[in-house]
């Protein structure tokens, strides 16, 4: 992946009547990057993708692909292709005609046409499927055919609109890995739209978390999970415990905070700025909290009572009532040894502990 900007979305808005589906978004995407737009339905991610495809045009702003302004370029002249959520396999055409659909304009000799389609069928691991009718394909096969059809002319950008949404869980996980491998092998820039955070984190180089037509944060999957910039992102990606806190003082790049029931804590501010007396939010991931029956010798700790337990096989979730904290604190523990399985070892008062490093400090909204 190079750092060269390949797609540049500059101040783009899209209004449908009074609805601002996309609101002044600016994003730069690098050549060869696997970039995801993640957000709940109605957050504007699909509209943004459709504007990249040329199926919608921005109300304001400009999109550049490979340095070329796109506002006057219709969909059929853009160097991008799209995999639709419904796959949009042409029902009146067979697999070969579907995959070779965009080649017909080139008026290739039959042998060359067949060779190109065959090459794509090998790529998507469906060799010999040329003459299958579209209704004979399973969901996963349709998805692959849609992929091959979009890739056959080697577009500069492949747009994917929730292409895995219609597949069952096992197949989806398999296709996630295959899609990632495919992207590496063809080296094409992928822009991927999904509402599934796990999918976005697994596959992407970078993810834009979107909400209400704007993006909240653009970062690598690790950064999004470990260092969210605000409460919405922290809440949307994975599970997060939040505690109200107040900044006492900032010393040597560290922030001393009064977190009420959790006591006095010290955290690193990350890229955010804090000043003394400011209201803030302490956020801790469930797996970064340790549960124990005895008080830990040192470090941050608070006492609580287990309210509820959920067994998930590889790990268990505990919901712990802590005095002064409204919502039960979620704790996730690996089931390394069998005695810990159902939380039998933890009855009555237990202790929760975490390191300074586990704390994400956010601005209170």
């Amino acid at each position: 992946m190079s750092d060269e900007t390949f797609i540049s979305i500059q101040g783009v808005s899209k209004h449908f009547g009074d609805v601002h589906a996309v609101d002044r978004v600016s994003i730069d995407i690098a050549r060869g990057e696997f970039f995801s737009l993640l957000g709940p339905s109605g957050c504007g991610k699909t509209t943004l993708l459709r504007m990249l495809a040329g199926l919608e045009f921005p109300t304001m702003g400009e999109i550049y692909i490979d340095g070329q302004a796109m506002s006057s370029v219709p969909a059929n002249h853009r160097p991008v292709n799209m995999v639709f959520q419904s796959y949009a396999i042409f029902p009146h055409l067979n697999v070969k005609q579907n995959i070779g659909y965009s080649l017909v304009q080139d008026k290739l000799p039959k042998a060359e046409f067949d060779a190109k389609v065959g090459e794509m069928l090998d790529l998507i691991k469906l060799p010999g499927y040329e003459d299958r009718a579209s209704h004979e394909l399973s969901g996963g096969e349709r998805q692959r055919v849609a992929l091959a059809r979009a890739l056959i002319r080697r577009p500069k950008v492949l747009l994917l609109d929730e292409p895995l949404g219609a597949l069952d869980k096992k197949l989806r996980e398999k296709m996630q890995l295959e899609l990632r491998a495919l992207q590496r092998s063809v080296g094409i820039t992928f822009v991927f739209v999904t509402h599934d955070q796990e999918e976005a984190l697994t596959m992407s180089d970078r993810v834009a978390v979107m909400s209400g037509g704007r993006y909240l944060q653009i970062d690598t999957p690790t950064k999004l999970y470990e260092a969210p910039q605000n409460r919405e992102v922290a809440d949307f990606i994975g599970t997060m415990n939040f505690f109200d806190a107040r900044v006492r003082e900032t010393i040597d790049g560290k922030v001393a905070i009064d977190a009420g029931p959790l006591g006095n804590l010290t955290a690193s501010p990350g890229s955010l700025a804090f000043s003394a007396g400011q209201n803030s939010l302490v956020a801790i991931r469930p797996e970064k909290i340790t549960i124990s029956s005895a008080k830990p010798a040192n470090g941050n700790a608070v006492q609580g009572v287990i309210d509820d337990t959920a067994y998930l096989g590889d790990r268990s979730h505990f919901y712990v009532q802590v005095n002064g904290v409204e919502k039960p604190v979620a704790v996730s523990a690996q089931n390394v040894n069998q005695s810990q399985l159902s939380g039998e070892g933890h009855q009555g008062q237990i202790w929760l502990s975490w390191s300074d490093d586990a704390i994400v400090l956010l601005n209170a909204d």
Partner: protein, 273 residues
């Protein structure tokens, strides 16, 4: 087990009797047409007198009736093509574009469906006389276009709504200009609807009576001509012969249309995810 099957048997027996009576009620009157068209008597009554092709011979020589038939076919062809074109464009507009006032527009297009034919006939007659257009096949054609366009649009809306609009977008995305998209995707997928709409509007025009009766000039359509002939008992067997011919042709056309529609339905189910 035997009791169950006998119970089912009696149930189907009752249903079977009902079905036979139902079919007889619908089709026996119609079957009298071909039957009496071969009967060697000008009176429509049993017992049958004998077999003859005389009425078919007279039909072939009846210039007035053949003219009316020709007028009806001509009118039906023109009306069905125009109604299907208008219906297709209207259906495309309401299913594919965000147009202001979509609801009222659809209501206005559909309104002729519920206006009684006699009201529309009188209204058109008044307008034709007032504007000095004069009554002719042309005015009948306009009337028929008004009543068949809503049907054509209904057929086309259901067809266009029946397939994923992403298909047209996919074609655009894959490099097709609007004309190529229409030729390669929209038209082939809409074809069963177009055929159904052509057949439907042709049939509506072909057997429409009231509007044609009000708006006819010197040239009439077949239904109006037949109605005129009923005053002359000697002409009745010829009308029966014509009726038998039309019945035969309708049977072939409807069978074809149904076969084609089923093919369309199959395509539609295939397009699902």
């Amino acid at each position: 087990m035997s009791s169950v099957s006998s119970k089912q048997g009696s149930r189907f027996g009752a249903l079977g009797v009902y079905a036979v009576i139902y079919l007889a009620f619908i089709y026996i009157p119609v079957m009298f047409l071909p039957l009496f068209s071969f009967n060697d008597s000008i009176f429509i009554a049993f017992p049958l007198k004998g077999f003859t092709l005389e009425w078919y011979r007279q039909l072939a020589n009846s210039e007035g009736m053949l003219d009316a038939l020709y007028n009806s076919i001509k009118l039906g062809c023109v009306v069905s093509v125009l109604a299907t074109l208008l219906g297709t464009f209207a259906a495309k507009a309401v299913t594919r574009y965000r147009i202001p006032g979509r609801g009222p527009v659809i209501t206005f297009i559909m309104l002729p469906l519920v206006i009684p034919g006699i009201i529309m006939g009188i209204a058109l007659l008044v307008i034709a006389n007032m504007s000095g257009v004069g009554l002719s096949l042309f005015t009948i054609g306009l009337g028929h276009l008004m009543v068949s366009t809503p049907f054509a649009m209904l057929v086309m809306v259901s067809r266009l709504e029946g397939f994923d609009k992403n298909l047209e977008e996919a074609s655009k995305d894959l490099g097709d200009n609007p004309w190529a998209t229409f030729r390669r995707v929209t038209f082939p997928l809409a074809l069963p609807g177009i055929v159904a709409s052509l057949l439907l509007s042709f049939t509506i025009s072909f057997d429409e009576f009231i509007l044609a009766f009000f708006l006819a000039g010197t040239e009439t359509t077949l239904p109006v001509y037949i109605w005129g002939q009923l005053r002359f008992p000697t002409q009745l067997p010829t009308v029966l012969a014509l009726g038998a011919c039309i019945l035969m042709i309708s049977f072939v056309v409807v069978t074809f249309a149904e076969w084609y529609r089923r093919r369309g339905v199959q395509l539609k189910t295939n397009s699902g995810v």
